[in-house]
């Protein structure tokens, strides 16, 4: 059964159609690669799923629950996590503090709890810190865990974004160009992290222009163009299609 | 024994009201110099401690506290209703006399044993001008235009009630906002009501403009106001439009007393202009004289000049004859009563019209 189901999703900005009757399923244990030329509507699709942009029509369900009209944070609470193409880290926090906000545990978020259950909150903090350190370890960022995020390189910032999304033990994870600007050596590392996550039952969707990366990572690919899903199949199949190749790689 | 006698002076020296406060303090200062030149309090100098209140209660509280605790004054002079009320508990608690000069809110009389006013309350001159308009000038339909703040509202009510009682009818009763820079709306409403006299209760800052706009809109009936607009500048600014404007004064004018004339001449000579709010400065000029009179009496008897003694002695003397404002008598309700002088702009000059309640 699909974790995330998108049916007949439509959205346009003026004359620009970014989602044209999109139907898409994200399955547990799977990594779906989303490719397509610039401006195809990939980021917009993520924005629609997350509630950043309201759709013109269509429905999105997560684990069978409709997400219509839910605000962003409610969707995240249901088990949706994403990274941003434009980073969106918290510049006034250090790397580890950026991650510490990630866990999908909101029981201590109410101000009243700060007064009433201090020990509980302290315990939560410890757990979150352990988890953050574990994830930083796995993504190779542990050495810079206390640096301000503004002082680390672009490539590292990208990884912090991915790591922050990993903190949320989400049902469905959306990665928007996680590798853009990241050095080649890190590819294997991230691929392993993402694959492990998929194996643990998470549905993952990755947007990437680095086809080699997508090919190694994804079970299946989707090709988008001008807001439409043009094709779905294994990444090799997509690349083999001469029409898609022309659109995406040029001739 | 005392080597000098101190009293406090807490006035707005900055902020929106400083226009008046500064000139009033200057007047008081001249008076203190005068008194000291004439020998002070039996040869001992009279000292005035000046503090800024910004006409703000909180600042006023601090200034007055400072004068009482640090400078140990037995009596202090202050003005502006907010400050006068805010510092009243301090005066009462410390048994220090508070002399209000120019706060015209009627509940002054209920502020406690140590709070007195040397200035007639607001209703005195408003009542006089309303009564005079209805009775002597024979006006039947009045319009009231006032600034929408506490004093404006209070005075407007007094005018309306008095004018009605005197047999007139108030055909328009309009307020404008404190921040307004244009007065067409209320003026048009007044024009539509077709009054034969208009009473304007505003601040110096905008009153000339209100009159100018009234005349521009073709309203030619006489306009009365209170002492705020009684100054030479109004005539300069408005020219012919100032004709038929009537103001009040709670103190004798230049024509009534040679001392006042000397006083105004001194302003023109030393400062280059007439004081802002002439009558108020006259009262302030006279306050040190009042204080000095009490101190002198205490000094003669060899009584320590504490607030308590000051109050007792002041009430014992009861009536004071002061240089610029004439006789003043403290009434049972802590207030004083005075005659009201009416002045009118005629041929480009302020001319005396009448004295009410002499």
């Amino acid at each position: 059964m699909a974790v995330l189901e998108i049916r007949n999703l439509c959205k346009s900005f003026g004359g620009i159609v970014v989602a044209d009757q999109i139907d898409l399923d994200l399955k547990a244990h799977g990594v779906l690669g989303l490719i397509g030329p610039n401006g195809a509507g990939k980021t917009s699709l993520f924005n629609l799923i997350c509630g950043v942009v309201p759709p013109d029509a269509g429905s999105i369900t997560l684990d069978g629950l409709s997400m219509e009209g839910q605000p962003i944070h409610e969707r995240a609470r249901l088990g949706l996590a994403r990274t941003w193409q434009t980073l969106r880290l918290f510049p006034s926090l250090s790397v580890i503090d950026n991650l510490m906000l990630g866990p999908r545990d909101y029981s201590a978020d109410r101000l009243i709890d700060v007064f009433l259950r201090p020990t509980y909150i302290a315990q939560r903090e410890r757990e979150a810190r352990q988890r953050a350190e574990y994830i930083l370890e796995r993504t190779g960022l542990i050495a810079i865990k206390d640096s301000p995020v503004m002082d680390i390189t672009y490539g590292q910032q990208k990884l912090v974004g991915v790591a922050r999304a990993l903190m949320n033990e989400a049902r469905c994870l959306l990665l928007d160009e996680p590798m853009a600007g990241v050095e080649g050596q890190t590819y294997a590392l991230i691929q392993k992290v993402v694959r492990d996550l998929a194996e643990s039952g998470v549905a993952i969707c990755v947007v990437e222009h680095n086809v080699a990366f997508i090919k190694d990572l994804c079970d299946e690919g989707v090709f988008m163009f001008a807001g439409k899903v043009l094709a779905r199949g294994s990444v090799d199949q997509l690349i083999a299609d001469p029409h898609l190749t022309e659109l995406y790689f040029g001739t | 024994q005392q080597t000098s006698y101190k009293f406090g002076m807490a006035m707005p020296l900055t902020g929106g009201q400083a226009t008046y406060g500064n000139d009033q303090v200057k007047a008081a200062q001249w008076a203190v110099e005068e008194i000291n030149k004439k020998g002070g309090i039996n040869g001992k100098p009279l000292e005035m401690i000046v503090m800024d209140t910004q006409a703000d209660p909180q600042v006023g509280i601090q200034s007055v506290n400072r004068m009482i605790s640090v400078d140990k004054v037995a009596v202090f002079v202050t003005a502006w209703s907010g400050v006068v009320k805010a510092v009243a508990p301090i005066a009462n608690d410390n048994k220090v006399v508070e002399l209000s000069v120019g706060a015209n809110s009627p509940d002054i009389s209920q502020l406690g044993d140590y709070v007195y006013t040397t200035f007639p309350l607001a209703d005195v001159d408003i009542r006089a001008v309303a009564g005079y308009s209805a009775k002597e000038m024979g006006k039947k339909k009045a319009a009231v235009l006032f600034i929408n703040n506490e004093t404006g509202l209070g005075s407007a009510t007094v005018y309306r009630d008095t004018f009605k009682k005197a047999g007139g009818e108030v055909v328009a009763y309009e307020a404008y906002d404190q921040k307004a820079t244009d007065f067409t709306g209320p003026l048009l409403k007044i024009r539509a009501a077709n009054p034969d006299i208009i009473h304007l209760q505003g601040l110096v800052a905008e009153s000339p403009q209100v009159i100018a706009q009234a005349r521009q809109l073709g309203i030619t009936v006489p306009i009365t106001s209170y002492s705020g607009i009684y100054n030479q500048k109004l005539i300069e600014q408005l020219g012919a439009a100032a004709e038929n404007v009537i103001a009040t004064s709670l103190a004798p004018g230049v024509e009534d007393s040679p001392l006042v004339k000397d006083y105004v001449d001194r302003w023109v000579k030393e400062v280059g202009r007439a004081p802002n709010g002439l009558p108020y400065t006259q009262y302030l000029y006279d306050t040190p004289a009042l204080v000095a009179a009490v101190f002198t009496a205490l000094d003669k008897k060899g009584i320590a000049p504490t607030g308590e003694n000051f109050r007792k002695e002041m009430l014992a003397i009861k009536t004071f004859d002061l240089p610029l404002t004439g006789k003043v008598t403290f009434a049972e309700d802590h207030t004083v009563n005075k005659p009201v002088y009416l002045v009118e702009v005629k041929n480009g000059k302020w001319t005396k019209k009448a004295v009410v309640g002499q």
Binding site: C50, V52 | V25, D52, Q58, E150
Partner: protein, 295 residues
């Protein structure tokens, strides 16, 4: 001595006001300058409750805080949805609107002000006791805010200030955080209002206008935004400086403007010398010292 006491009390009250304002405007990044109106609400509510003997004064002060807390929600819930600069104007509208309203309500003294507010503690234990009370409460406020902002909740506020969208995407409710913090800050201001009312015993609506806002804001910013002790230093310096200037013995004819000139001039000098505030906040949010926050 009254002079000294009233200065100490005002310093204490301004420490409370400035610290709680810093919580709202600095730590939470909510640009509202209406803080004094919650101070006013606390003051008026407490004064009225005590004046009419509805409850004992300490309870009345607390109720003032509670009413301020609730009132803040009136501004926060609708206005925070749009956040940023719009909160600013909504808050100004709320502040000046309430002040206008208060001027028209006779029962609370109208524009002329509310007099004869019962005093508290002073009669039985002397003024010193009130000074102690205010200063102790000021200390508690500072420590409380320090504790709150250095804990996990402080981290949430920092993140929300930086990027609300990314913050929501982590499943956290930005509006709720803002409303809560705004409420807490306003509630504290409300209690301070009660303390003011029962010492100075006179309240006037115009006291709580934009002048007061800018005074408190200056304390926070000149002292140092987002620092525990910055607002304290700001309150101390900006409260004491004008008092010291009154001892300069300036000639009365130029006294007012000159005092103002010296005061604002000195503040400008401070601002140039320390453009991050007298105490500068660390570049990034740092919680409690790491050794403490570990096991």
């Amino acid at each position: 001595m009254d002079y000294l006491y009233s200065i100490l009390i005002l310093i204490g009250l301004f420490i409370i006001l400035a610290s709680s304002f810093d919580l709202v405007i600095g730590h939470c990044g909510l640009i509202s300058i209406a803080h004094p109106i919650f101070y006013a609400i606390g003051a008026y509510v407490s004064a009225m409750l005590a004046k009419h003997n509805i409850m004992p004064i300490p309870l009345a002060m607390l109720s003032g805080g509670v009413v301020a807390f609730v009132a803040s929600a009136l501004v926060a819930v609708p206005a925070l949805r749009v956040s940023g600069d719009y909160l600013l104007i909504a808050s100004i509208g709320f502040q000046l609107g309430l002040i206008e309203l208060a001027k028209h309500i006779h029962e609370i003294g109208g524009a002329g002000g509310l007099t004869n507010i019962p005093s508290f503690l002073i009669r039985d234990y002397g003024r010193e006791s009130y000074v102690v009370l205010v200063l102790v409460l000021a200390g508690l406020t500072v420590l409380f805010i320090k504790w709150l902002t250095q804990g996990p909740y402080g981290r949430m506020m920092a993140a929300m200030r930086d990027d609300e969208l990314a913050f929501s995407m982590l499943g956290r409710n930005a509006i709720w955080v803002k409303v809560s913090v705004f409420g807490i800050g306003s509630g504290i201001a409300g209690i301070a209002g009660g303390l003011y009312a029962h010492y100075f015993r006179f309240l006037e609506p115009d006291q709580f206008g934009l002048l007061q806002s800018s005074a408190v804001l200056t304390m926070v910013v000149v002292g140092g935004l987002r620092t525990a002790w910055g607002p304290v230093i700001g309150a101390l310096v900006l409260q004491l400086m004008p008092q010291m200037i009154t001892f300069f013995n300036l000639p009365p004819s130029v006294l007012g403007p000159l005092q103002g000139l010296i005061f604002t001039g000195l503040v400008l000098v401070f601002m140039f010398k320390r453009p991050q505030g007298l105490l500068a906040a660390p570049v990034i949010w740092t919680g409690k010292a790491p050794e403490k926050r570990g096991a």
